[in-house]
Symmetry: C2
Subunit: 286 residues, 2 copies
């Protein structure tokens, strides 16, 4: 049982439209508010060797990335920290504040608690106009699928490629890119923080489409394999679909990696992609 | 070192105006958005014997109570759960959803993670008009201070008074009361979830005033002492200050328990009130 199975349970209670994206949208007068919340904890989410400042930065970044993937402009982040050692609050708060400020949001408050294991939950809020709001629904057969940045670097760092350590521990949410892509008119968008493969399956399910991916087209940094890009997490690029007519989108570094099909399958060079990536898995009896 | 000490550290980084209330307010066009986040975990926040449904209910209630204390109308709640056993998600989600619906909000999404100890973070969002937004600032010497409901019941349940068990595990946030009091024009407001005494010290610090409390006037349920009302947590009543001219506030069950002074001290029958109540305390070496 992994977190995607659990999501099915929640989805049965609060509705599928509330669980199919990492964000939810709430209408408030003429405004659309985007909300997202993420729980991270030390043993599974923060690689050993991270500083508290980096932990704070990453905690804010994961939520800003979700906000960005909706095409929204981030406004504020709240941070709830369950601390194993009280002294850590200052580094964590500074890191989160610096990340928020870098991407135009405010670290606006939070909660403090004590915990045997460091646990951080960030909640982000953003705003978006009706016409620019993007979700995992909306990919259409005939669209192309693209990714921003060079995925797989964070995964490479986890496997020991130290030159990508900063990609892993000081990730840069694609706030500017998400907004530009939304305004340009992409048909669906999400971040690839669980790896491209799982993200494709999520998009496939939400949009009711399939994908044919050409792995040779995945843009890779030196020493990073397509396998890492597909199946490792921790990168903060965006995956998006669009009609070819809106391209090029200026000032966004993206690459076309495949096409949207009506098959319902996620294929790579004609073979189904393994449904594997970053997922909190539940191990019975542990 | 307790959570109030830690708050000083955070306050030095993100600013005192962002930490002096349980909520923060963000302007968005003509709207004011109220946000609040709360972290709860099993060993310190959920008394033994609670069902998962009650855990979900309480988790939503703590955040709705913070939203209510600002005079805001709640809109939505997000719930991030770190689960020790995956099966618990369904009871917890149902309880949170029922609490949200009871108080006019939507359980709009969340996040799921795994944790050695059950950990839940709820984040609430509400809206409030400029003129009705209430905070801990604004109490003025000459105002009176009042409390809603009958405080101390949750504390009595913790000490074994089983007839108050539901007050403890299925708390009712004062959403309706908070709104009516805000519209009536109270000068400051907060909830008493850490006990009346600590709440008075918080109000005193934020508003720069003192209080003279008449313990005989604290409304008590049968078998509940003024000591419990002052120094135990878990109740969800509201503490508010106001000029006498706005009274009575119709349809709100409140009692006048003292007056606001300019002394800076919190006195009860002329003696300083012990600064003790519900607070997560940090024990060195544990």
């Amino acid at each position: 049982m992994d977190d995607r199975d659990l999501l099915q349970v929640v989805s049965g209670i609060i509705g599928k439209e509330r669980t199919s994206d990492d964000c939810c949208m709430i209408k408030l007068g003429d405004e659309n508010i985007i909300l997202s919340t993420d729980m991270l904890h030390e043993s599974t989410d923060f690689p050993k060797g991270m500083t508290d400042w980096q932990i704070g930065w990453m905690s804010a970044a994961v939520t800003l990335s979700d906000i960005a993937s909706c095409g929204a402009v981030p406004l504020a982040v709240l941070l709830a920290a369950g601390l194993d050692e009280p002294e850590r609050i200052s580094g964590i708060t500074l890191g989160a504040k610096d990340c928020c400020e870098r991407f135009g949001a405010e670290l606006a408050g939070g909660d403090i608690d004590f915990h045997s294991e460091l646990t951080i939950v960030t909640t982000g809020i953003g705003r978006v106009e009706d016409e620019y709001y993007k979700s995992r629904r909306g990919a259409k057969p005939g669209d192309i699928i693209c990714v921003t940045g060079t995925p797989g670097c964070a995964g490479a760092a986890l496997e020991g490629a130290l030159r990508y350590w900063k990609n892993l521990v000081e990730p840069l949410p694609a706030v500017r890119e998400g907004r530009l892509l939304a305004v340009a008119g992409v048909s669906s968008m999400m971040d690839v923080s669980d790896g491209i493969a799982l993200s494709l399956y999520d998009l496939s399910e939400s949009s009711g489409v399939g994908f044919e991916i050409f792995p040779d087209k995945i843009p890779l940094s030196s020493g990073v394999s397509a396998e890492l890009a597909l199946h490792s997490g921790g990168d903060f690029g965006l995956l998006f679909t669009c009609g070819r007519d809106i391209l090029p989108v200026l000032d966004v570094d993206y690459a076309e990696i495949g096409v949207v099909t009506d098959s319902g399958e996620v294929l790579c060079d004609g073979v189904p992609v393994e449904k594997r990536g970053y997922s909190h898995s539940w191990i019975d009896g542990s």
